[in-house]
């Protein structure tokens, strides 16, 4: 399937900002399930952004805006060809060994409740079945609701609140998988819900878990599916903070208005 992505992030400020610095993880790389036909990232900066490949294999663009501004824009546009598959990620850059992804972060640190949740859902199931059970249970128990959580909400808080967005579903899945001793990681990217479905106007996130003999398997707890051709994988990390599409700081400026537009369209037809 050929998917076209238009991802625009606009910041506007009440009073001028002196400088903005950002790291952008917005660029998909090829693996067996996706081929990047074209992709560009541009900002108010106006010319090609410097970039590097981070320790997880993500392409990171570095954005520095060293002049007073009241607005800033980031635009990611491209086309990616995706392939139907079995939800197993093959052929991706894998600089870090699976064991590393047992490491927890502030966002994924389980509390007693998350530990109990993970063990109860998994029961005596073998790893793959346990992960499917986790995905299904998270989808059923954690209602999709925007505006109740933010970028700093932890997996433990998500379970307690019982609602959240894709980022929260993913953190809870990752935290629970790691409780079970299964390496798990956060994936940032894009999602195409199907031609007749309601458009999904946001960047998406899901999780991957490592199973011996299979490798990295994708789980989208928000949609209750193992991602294949409707997902474009753009970044991986231990959690949201490590895989965030935009991580930045600004100097000065009172209050910020942020607007994000994501359009993912199939262009096969």
């Amino acid at each position: 399937m050929r998917l076209r992505v238009h991802h625009e992030t606009n910041y506007s400020y009440d009073s001028p900002v002196v400088a903005t610095y950002q790291m952008l993880r917005l660029t998909p790389r090829a693996h067996d399930g996706q081929r990047v036909i074209s992709w560009r990232v541009q900002t108010t900066h106006g010319h090609d952004l410097p970039s590097f490949i981070d320790g997880f294999g993500n392409i990171v663009h570095c954005h520095a805006l060293n002049r007073r501004h009241k607005e800033a824009k980031i635009l990611a546009i491209g086309e990616v060809e995706t392939f139907a598959g079995d939800g197993i990620v093959r052929g991706a850059a894998e600089p870090m060994p699976p064991l590393f992804f047992l490491r927890n972060t502030a966002l994924t640190m389980p509390d007693r409740a998350v530990e109990t949740f993970a063990r109860e859902v998994a029961g005596q199931l073998p790893p793959l079945a346990a992960l499917h059970a986790l995905m299904g249970t998270i989808r059923a128990r954690i209602a999709y609701r925007t505006g109740v959580t933010d970028a700093a909400t932890t997996a433990a808080e998500v379970l307690e609140k019982g609602c959240g967005v894709c980022q929260d579903h993913s953190h809870l899945f990752i935290a629970a998988a790691r409780v079970l001793g299964i390496p798990a990681r956060y994936v940032g990217g894009y999602f195409w819900p199907a031609a007749d479905a309601e458009p999904y106007n946001a960047a998406h996130a899901w999780a991957e878990a490592f199973i011996d003999d299979l490798g990295w398997v994708s789980f989208d707890s928000t949609n209750g599916v193992c991602p294949t051709e409707s997902h474009i994988r753009a970044s991986v990390g231990l959690d949201y903070l490590g895989a965030a599409p935009v991580r930045g700081v600004r100097l000065g400026g009172a209050s910020e208005t942020l607007s994000v537009t994501v359009m993912v369209a199939s262009i096969d037809q």
Binding site: Y21, D54, G55, A64, N66, L99, G248, V249
Partner: protein, 483 residues
């Protein structure tokens, strides 16, 4: 228990005295004996007082955290030097070079192919799940493979030929300013004394450090590299050292707010406009270097610095991620690193170390607390440690509770009878326990200024030399002649 090659360490009880041994004065200390014998009465008392004034005047201070508030005080300086002869130093220098080469090879490997893990010589989990292992550094090799550009290797001596490494300080070792000031003080207090005895000079350390830093200029450095020293600021306990070294090297002393990134290049704001910086001798911890990559709440670093670093536009010394090499839970594997990367037997031995994260080690440690020194695997500065033989039963019990709560956070070592050196104390001249921190510079080449910082436990019988715990320092003489 790990570190099987160092069993000998455990057997000692009385300390080896570096001056008086086997009923005689050891040869390197004959000059000290002759000097002390020829002094008029009260001379040392006078010089001791003079030394204190001198250090206050220069303003060498050290902030001691545990005492509350911003308490600055001078570290006591002992006026009787410690002496090593040319042979002793030659051996130490060979051992230090070997160890630091292995540590750097380990760091390059651990952030690239991880051959040492694949070969099963170090287990995977203690490395990969260690917070000191920085995934951000994966697939990055700093210029000349130098991760620890300045390493402070703490050495203790148990006998005439027995030297052990107590710990490796690979991330941001401090103390070199005391080494330099101590020599300066000796020269002023006792004019002519050093000249008489062919003591190897050390005053070129700042030049060697600057040469080292310039030799690791990044791949995209446009010409003559500009070096600056990045400090967390005046509230840091080692701020004196930062300003001292910047001064001595003739480079800019900067804080995070003085720097900014543009087009992935680091600039320092100057009165003549922005100036490109190629090498940062940074004394800011990894966590605080760049809020876009590490702790988001840090204001001590520079937003975007890490991107410039990975892109090869700036060198950070020491490199990011170096702390995995001096994590105390990794220390037991250093001899194995020497064998694996260099194919050599380690010249400097490790102290036997119990890893409380291992069940069998842990039960041994719990039942032998009165014989052991227990330290936090990730702590430094002598805070939060238990010296079993000197602790009360109640103190040991309190500590045991902390151990049981988080065994994996602690390591334990036998109490070593550190060597003693003659030291000027209230009762006159008496032996006190010492260690040694030589500073190893790693750039294109390895360079070690002879000697290092000798720390001395001023309280009788005390084995804790840390300045935060009431330790003092001495000038360290390396004789250019053999004895």
């Amino acid at each position: 228990m790990m570190g099987r090659e160092t069993q000998a360490a455990a057997g000692h009880s009385a300390g080896f005295d570096e001056m008086h041994h086997a009923g005689a004065c050891r040869a390197p200390y004959e000059i000290i004996r002759d000097w002390l014998e020829g002094l008029p009465p009260d001379f040392l008392l006078r010089k001791h007082a003079e030394a204190e004034l001198l250090f206050r005047r220069i303003g060498v201070t050290f902030t001691v955290y545990s005492e509350g508030g911003d308490l600055e005080r001078t570290i006591p300086f002992d006026i009787i030097p410690r002496v090593l002869d040319a042979d002793e130093w030659a051996f130490l220098e060979r051992g230090l070079r070997q160890r630091v080469r292995a540590l750097n090879a380990f760091l390059v490997d651990i952030y690239n192919g991880r051959e040492i893990l694949r070969a099963g010589r170090i287990p995977q989990a203690p490395i990969l799940l260690n917070a000191s292992f920085r995934p951000e550094m994966q697939n990055f090799t700093p210029v000349h493979g130098a991760y620890t550009h300045v390493a402070g290797i703490d050495i203790v001596r148990l006998g005439p030929r027995e030297f052990y490494v107590l710990e490796d300080n690979c991330r941001v070792p401090s103390g070199v300013s005391y080494m330099l000031e101590n020599r300066e003080a000796m020269t002023r207090l006792f004019p002519g004394l050093l000249g008489h005895h062919r003591v190897a000079p050390i005053s070129h350390y700042p030049e060697e450090l600057l040469d080292t830093l310039r030799s690791v200029a990044p791949p995209h450095c446009p010409g003559d590299p500009t070096v600056a020293l990045l400090t967390p600021g005046i509230f840091n306990s080692a701020y004196y050292e930062h300003s001292f070294l910047a001064d001595e090297m003739g480079i800019e002393l900067v804080e995070g707010a003085d720097l900014f990134i543009d087009d992935n290049i680091v600039f320092v704001r100057t009165t003549e406009g922005p100036r490109r910086v190629d090498v940062l001798y940074r004394r800011v911890d990894d966590d605080f270097l760049d809020p876009l990559t590490f702790r988001s709440d840090s204001t001590l670093g520079v937003p975007g610095l890490f991107g410039a670093y990975r892109a090869g536009n700036v060198t950070l010394a020491n490199a990011v991620g170096t702390s995995i090499a001096d994590d105390k839970s990794i220390y037991p594997y250093v001899p194995e690193m020497v064998r694996f990367y260099l194919g050599e037997e380690p010249l400097l031995a490790n102290v036997p170390t119990f890893d409380c994260g291992r069940a069998e080690d842990f039960s041994y440690v719990l039942s032998h607390l009165e014989d052991l020194v227990v330290k936090e695997a990730r702590g430094s500065g002598g805070y939060g440690m238990l010296v079993g033989p000197q602790a009360s039963a109640a103190e040991r019990e309190t500590f045991a509770a902390r151990l049981r709560a988080r065994p994996g956070d602690y390591i334990a070592q036998p109490t070593l009878a550190l060597s003693t050196c003659p030291t000027y104390v209230e009762s006159g001249i008496a032996p006190r326990h010492v260690d040694l921190r030589p500073f190893v510079l790693v750039g294109k080449k390895i360079h070690i200024v002879p000697g290092g910082l000798t720390r001395v436990a001023l309280r009788e019988g005390s084995l804790v030399v840390n300045s935060s715990q009431g330790g003092g320092t001495k000038d360290t003489w390396v004789l250019e002649t053999r004895c």
